[in-house]
Symmetry: C2
Subunit: 151 residues, 2 copies
DNA sequence: TCCTTGTTGATGCAATTGCATCTATATGGA
DNA sequence: TCCATATAGATGCAATTGCATCAACAAGGA
């Protein structure tokens, strides 16, 4: 039988986590909107595809990386393809699937989003916490992750 | 001129924060859905109204507390009123406004949600971090908040 | 009083999301 | 081969959200 009642410390940390993460996301999304740039989820996809290189990624591989549902990935990729940011290629050994690759203008868009996104992160994180505190924070958050981070 | 390029530590902490908070929310929402209970936002409203007591709250007072847009609060309250969880009362000294108060079945719903929500918090937070670590985490997160927490 | 401006809350419409399901292909066993 | 089951991705429809705007009242000055 698992413990069902959280400690006051757990409640306080949870409340802070919920509120702060939402604030940070909202402010960042607002900054992107103000520049006429697409939402954070687009950056996540562009980032993953850029990391993946020429081989690209299969849509199902994006599901866990960007924490979207399968239909979310499907529709997000459709919109991004319509905007010319990614391209879909048939995959030879699996007739069901496709490979998604970032395009040149996708890379350009990624740079433009990062100019705003990176500045938000610098402002909100570096502006408030020391490098050491940021490491401590990342370590603690890592232990909340599923599966827990080892570091 | 603000710094525009985040440190590696800031990026790592940000990435952890984004990912962990989304995971925690998603798991909690799933647990609620599995029990046929409404989303977390409903709990937030019920919680605030319960804290506010008999006097209730004006809808605009909920905006910052639950981090929803004005129209989000308006529509969420409409749904909750339709479900009998809250009631709207005209307010005497301002003909535009209304006061929202939690009902008995709202309190009951709050209890039912907390049974699941609290268990999630206990499992995810107390199950992973010590009370001391939770305090440290809350303190660090507090400094990211806007406005920064003093503790 | 009248007019202008600000505040509170609701809503029409378009975009997005969630849910369930569908098509197409793959895989493995009878 | 044939069939049952699993996997990859798309999509119809309903619910929710975002954006812009609206209506109603408030507040303050001319």
């Amino acid at each position: 039988m698992t413990k069902t009642s959280p400690s006051p410390e757990a409640i306080a940390a949870w409340a802070r986590l919920m509120r702060v993460s939402r604030q940070l996301v909202e402010r960042t999304e607002d900054a992107l909107k103000a520049k006429g740039l697409p939402p954070l989820a687009w950056y996540d996809v562009l980032h993953e595809l850029a990391e993946a290189g020429e081989g690209g990624l299969r849509p199902f591989e994006l599901i866990d990386r960007v924490l979207l549902a399968q239909y979310g990935v499907s529709r997000l990729l459709a919109r991004m393809e319509a905007d010319g940011l990614v391209e879909k290629l048939p995959v030879s050994d699996d007739g069901r699937g496709q490979t998604v690759r970032i395009t040149a203008s996708g890379r350009e868009m990624r740079r433009r989003i990062w100019a705003v996104y990176g500045a938000c992160i610098a402002d909100r994180m570096d502006g408030r916490l020391s490098a050491q505190d940021l490491k401590t924070l990342a370590g603690l958050l890592g232990r909340l992750r599923h599966p827990p981070a080892s570091d």
